[in-house]
Symmetry: C2
Subunit: 401 residues, 2 copies
């Protein structure tokens, strides 16, 4: 296993240079949503850095920017657009790490590595828009109709690419995709470890339910004559926690994050509660079991309490298992860069790698997020951890040959 001549100083300098495009002035925060001036300026700068490294820069029709070598190659990267109030590392880290590894590989005369910054992972239009279109989850024509919060459509936004926009690349030129990313969660920071090698990007199901009771005066309606929709939700929440214990792993998560009580007044027994249960896990079987338990439990509670029940159409994303060969290479790289200080873990968040898995083998590497904070100006990771991540990524590329 050869060692690529990566340059941590150059990597950190480029990461800070990228941060200067759309720097918020609050801590290290950035405001660089897809197709903003800061985003387009940063992509032009990034294209220049690719060219300087001997890579051919190429924008696809959506504005995803590739730094290409000739012939088949590994692809490494992430996205450089940010949330409206975003952190400096979310996406940017993986893009600059990809640039540095591709650059070092160029300098070493191989192996062949290309790099990429996908467009609009943060979903100004749609969800993980640039990689979703390339991966075939949504057609360009469909995506063009999607509107951002200001009413601009993707079709209108794309016009800003002007002469930059080239053709979609043939994904078959790439042998696989590696994405390095901040964890965006608290596990590595709280429970220790410098690196996480992702086992799977978890699948997600979103089930919105409406419990329909009887809206009544909170003074004149005895408890025995009530059909209180909020009490139904509380009973469901408690019962579900008990029943899930038998099927979940420590990595499984479930959340009731959205609750609307109607009419939501102190002195009125709630007549209706609409809420969403979301659950995530790396196993489709476990997602299925949880759905069965959730549906059975809410039906039992509603039957016991005389509540009506409606399910909204379910939303779901399938889990994405990481490619064994690429994941093994990341484990080798992680063990070399941080002996005994890495762990296998799920990715609880969606990434461009989800879409890329439709096109090629994929694997992901995490570095810690301080305090688990992301999508916030306060998002950060120590320089030591950033460089350890870069070394692990370079080690994986060497291991793959």
């Amino acid at each position: 296993m050869t060692t690529l001549p990566i340059d941590p100083e150059r990597f950190l300098a480029d990461l800070h240079m990228l941060r200067s495009f759309g720097a918020s002035g609050t801590g290290k925060g950035v405001c660089r949503p897809a197709f903003s001036k800061a985003d387009l300026d940063s992509r032009d700068w990034l294209a220049g850095r690719m060219e300087e490294a001997g890579l051919r820069s190429h924008f696809d029709p959506v504005g995803s920017l590739f730094g290409l070598v000739h012939g088949p190659s590994l692809l490494i990267g992430s996205h450089s657009d940010s949330q409206v109030e975003g952190g400096w590392l979310d996406g940017a880290l993986g893009v600059i790490a990809g640039l540095e590894v591709a650059r070092a590989a160029q300098e070493a005369g191989g192996p062949p590595v290309s790099c990429v910054s996908f467009q609009d992972e943060e979903g100004r239009f749609g969800v993980t828009t640039g990689s979703a279109i390339w991966g075939g989850n949504i057609s360009l024509a469909e995506a063009d109709a999607l509107q951002g919060p200001d009413g601009t459509s993707l079709a209108e936004a794309r016009k800003a690419l002007g002469a930059r926009a080239g053709a979609f690349l043939d994904p078959d030129r790439f042998t696989g995709f590696l994405e390095m990313h901040i964890e965006q969660g608290p596990v590595l920071d709280t429970e220790g470890g410098s690196l996480g090698v992702v086992e799977a990007i978890v699948g997600m199901r979103n089930l919105t339910m409406t419990l329909k009771g009887a809206q009544n005066h909170a003074g004149t309606t005895p408890m025995r004559l009530r059909k209180d929709a909020f009490q139904g939700l509380a009973a469901f929440t408690t019962a579900l926690n008990d029943r899930f214990r038998n099927v979940v792993t420590p990595a499984t998560v479930w959340t009731i994050g959205h609750v609307e009580v109607h009419p939501n007044a102190h002195a009125i027994v709630p007549g209706e509660v609409r809420f969403t249960l979301q659950w995530r896990d790396g196993s489709t079987d476990r997602l299925d079991r949880m759905e069965e338990i959730a549906r059975d439990t809410v039906q039992e509670i509603c039957a016991e309490r005389g509540l009506g029940l409606e399910f909204a159409p379910k939303l779901e994303l399938a889990p994405v298992t990481m490619d064994a060969r690429l994941r093994g290479a990341l484990e080798q790289g992680a063990e070399a860069a941080a002996p005994g200080a890495w762990r296998a873990m799920p990715s609880g968040a969606l990434h461009d790698a989800t879409n890329l898995s439709k096109l090629m083998p994929v694997a992901m590497l995490f570095v810690p997020s301080i305090g688990g904070i992301s999508h916030d100006f306060a998002e950060d990771t120590t320089e030591a951890d950033l460089v350890t991540g870069l070394r692990a990524l370079a080690g994986a590329v060497s291991a793959l040959g």
Copy 2:
């Protein structure tokens, strides 16, 4: 015990005549908020009916309308203003029943009975405004600054009374107050009975609490590292139901009617939940015990789960026990009018009688609400039950001599 020559036909005719002021055109519903044209027109008509009955009509400065006999007398009545979308009986029933009983007493040459329609019981300004000012809960000067939903102050609204407005009456001229009202709840209608003799107007406490957890990504934050404010609320709700079982009676009620989850998004672990627990009972001791249990329980749950906790200032209304002599008279009247078909029960809602209890002995009589419905165009009671209520009220007056 003499029998007053009440006239059920005349009573029902007047009740329907009052309904014609502000009739909504939807079922029997009315729109007659305090100081609306319909309200003032109906009070002028009512004053005329009082005069025709040999009663002296008198408006106080707030627009409460009395039909007075000379010398000390019993006072019977309620309010004739309605909710913006109100029922035809809420308040109106007690006003016209008071008019009919006072009229019959005039015709019979005694006993001396005056009648009343209080102003703004429904709280376009404040709460039970007319009787609250008379009862000294709020000064006229303070109440004058209160604004309705359209921004009009009570002071401005009162100008419409013009020359009608007289002085406040000396409450000492009245020996007691009887209020007949629809139940506004489902107990009589669901569990049987033509009449309810009120034991107490329940007291109420309102405690708004904020649980403060940690707002986190619902995909990347493992269950073991969460501080989920909504899960805290669900656990509190379930635990409270268990603990209350030991102290409540079948008449005690408690409600979590208002819940705000922050940020209230599918994919974010709730960082904060603000909610209100309201409970009602006729016993101050029981209200105290329940408050102690609620505070202890929420503190335990927050301590177990690492949640922060804030209490907003508590709102409370003390219970009002009915006067034993007046209540005994209503029981005699009820037994005569509906032998074996009445029950003692609490009033779960606030009424003008609450304020009058500061000034004189009070008691209340309920008739059934069909389906427990009130504050709605669909509010109704059978004619048979209306007349049974009138007979019981007249019987009580006879019993009091």
